[in-house]
């Protein structure tokens, strides 16, 4: 019996997660909408994410541009370094940094906050008052995470291309005009749209996972800590998987 329960428990968790996701999908279009909570959560996620975004996108862009310019200089093709930087930033660095920030900063903060409310029994209090916690707390959080991920992705792309430009021009002596001119050589509006779609998917999945882990917290301090830990791991796994799938689909579409 215990082994059966142990095998069944992850399956039950997965089922509960999808049930909650379905609830969110249904309740998203049904009033009353929690506007106030949505705005507060958007601000909350943006506030915890902004500094990590800035501090992560610059090093990763510099790394990519640096490694790639070594190659291009060796080929004698440093003048197309803009093309490589744009391709790298728009198709991969943008979405991947968004993944890191949304799951490492946004989702952890969200799960910690919701988990704290759960163990203070605030969610039970809401239920007693006849308010559905999924509608009042989870829906605005998921929508806020999706929107902020979309905005963050644009921010990361912008920062990345600017950082790549500065690093290439001032440290690796690429001609600024050649860098700017080759930006659109490999990367077009379609890549930008795919990158934004990916970011929205990341935000939504991270929001759903964080909220599920947050409202299903059990046990004392160790329980909350574990819930946040599991949130990080699961969002990383899910988001990296979505990234590879979305990239494969996007490449087929744009070909």
């Amino acid at each position: 019996m215990t082994t059966l329960a142990r095998i069944a428990s992850p399956a039950r968790g997965l089922g509960e997660f999808f049930a909650m996701a379905l609830d969110v999908a249904v309740l998203m279009f049904r009033p009353p909408w929690a506007w106030r909570e949505f705005i507060l959560q958007s601000w909350f996620v943006a506030r915890v994410s902004l500094f990590p975004t800035f501090m992560l996108s610059l090093p990763y862009t510099v790394l990519t541009v640096f490694v790639e310019n070594i190659l291009l200089v060796e080929f004698g093709a440093a003048d197309v370094s803009g093309a490589g930087a744009a391709q790298g930033v728009v198709t991969q660095i943008g979405p991947v940094v968004t993944v890191l920030v949304i799951s490492g900063a946004g989702a952890t903060a969200m799960c910690a906050d919701l988990g704290a409310r759960t163990i203070r029994e605030e969610l039970d209090a809401l239920r007693v008052l006849g308010i559905n916690p999924v509608q009042a707390l989870v829906v605005p959080r998921v929508v806020a995470a999706t929107m902020i991920a979309l905005l963050l992705n644009s921010f990361v792309t912008l920062l990345g291309i600017t950082g790549g430009f500065l690093f290439s021009v001032f440290f690796q002596h690429v001609t600024p005009g050649a860098f700017a001119a080759s930006l659109t050589l490999l990367t077009g509006p379609r890549d930008v749209v795919i990158s934004l779609v990916k970011a929205a998917l990341f935000g939504m999945s991270a929001g759903l996972i964080a909220c599920y882990k947050g409202i299903s917290v059990r046990g004392g301090p160790q329980g909350v800590g574990n819930a946040v830990n599991e949130t990080v791991v699961l969002t990383f796994v899910a988001l990296f998987f979505i990234n590879i799938m979305a990239t494969a689909v996007g490449v087929q579409v744009t070909r």
Binding site: R6, S9, P10, G13, V48, F51, P52, M55, L56, P59, Y60, V62, L63, T64, F66, V67, I70, L71, V73, E74, F75, Q87, Q92, L100, V101, G104, A105, T108, A109, C111, A112, D113, G115, A116, I119, R120, L186, G220, P221, Q222, G223, V224, G225, N226, A227, V228, N229, E230, V232, V233, F236, V237, F240, F241, N243, I244, T247, A248, V251, R255
Partner: protein, 283 residues
């Protein structure tokens, strides 16, 4: 007059106090980190059993994470996905300029220098690092750490230095798995899914796979393990604010370690490969 002067003073002194506060925090962290590193000797001399227990626990994971296969499977899976990005994105980008034969070279070059170390670091921070913060935070909140001090056990050496040692030991096989997974993913993606011939792929892959690069990337992974462990144990060891505070500490630790490791990776890469690049097209 005096009231006005005091508000002016208040307006000036608030940012000053904030600045001094952040300096104090940096100082406290640095002091804590040096104490962790100093405690490593004590941990190895007196707490061998604890170190071995932690190595076992970290490599296999605890709780719900053990159900999906523990740290090894998670890090392996993450590198599998990032490695296959080489196949998906790299192959198609190269095909756009008709040099898709060079995908093997891109795998040997980018996986070793960039993708595998970064992915392994992220995996470490999320699994072992965040787990350590959660454990230590819970111990702090339950006043177990104070109990250790009362019993005369050096809590920093016993709890944090031992975790740093265990993290470094665990990262070595973990990084082997990560780098192998990223190679396998890139190769399978390119040859099996996109239909490139295995011979072409392996020719460029083997030609450009530089053994020195691999050793450097191992060194990078070990440094990252130390960085991740000290940052995460700091936030766990100093958690405050009841059960909710533990969750918050885990979140803050993940944010801090992502930023610190990104900066450290960049600095290490610039230091290793420098301006020369240590790369020779002609072999």
């Amino acid at each position: 007059m005096t009231a006005q002067a005091s508000t002016h003073l208040g307006a000036i002194s608030r940012p000053v106090r904030k600045f001094v506060g952040s300096l104090t925090r940096i100082g406290a962290q640095t002091k804590f980190y040096t104490e962790i590193l100093k405690g490593i000797g004590v941990a190895l001399a007196h707490h061998k059993r604890e170190v071995i227990r932690l190595i076992a626990q970290m490599s296999l994971g605890v709780g719900a994470l053990a159900v999906i296969g523990g740290t090894v499977v998670i890090v392996g899976f993450l590198s599998l996905t990032t490695g296959s990005l080489i196949a998906v994105q790299g192959y198609n980008t190269l095909a756009g300029v008709d040099v898709e034969a060079l995908t093997g070279f891109v795998s040997a070059y980018l996986n070793v220098r960039l993708i595998a170390p970064v992915t392994a670091t992220i995996g470490l921070a999320a699994t072992i690092g965040a787990g350590a913060t959660a454990q230590l935070g819970a111990m702090r909140i339950n006043e177990e750490i104070d109990a250790l001090e009362v019993m005369g056990i050096r809590s920093i050496a016993y709890l944090t230095s031992s975790r740093v040692v265990a993290g470094v030991v665990v990262v070595i096989p973990l990084y082997c798995i990560a780098i192998l997974m990223s190679f396998v993913a890139a190769q399978v993606g390119t040859t099996f899914f996109y239909g490139q011939s295995v011979g072409v792929y392996l020719h460029y892959f083997n030609t450009f796979l530089n053994p020195t690069d691999i050793l450097w990337s191992f060194a990078q992974a070990i440094v990252m393990a130390v960085v991740v462990m000290v940052v995460h144990t700091y936030y766990g060891f100093n958690a405050t604010g009841g059960p909710a505070g533990v969750g918050e500490a885990v979140g803050r630790a993940v944010r801090a370690s992502l930023v610190v490791t990104a900066l450290a990776t960049m600095l290490i890469t610039l230091a290793i490969y420098g301006q020369s690049g240590n790369f020779h097209l002609s072999g």
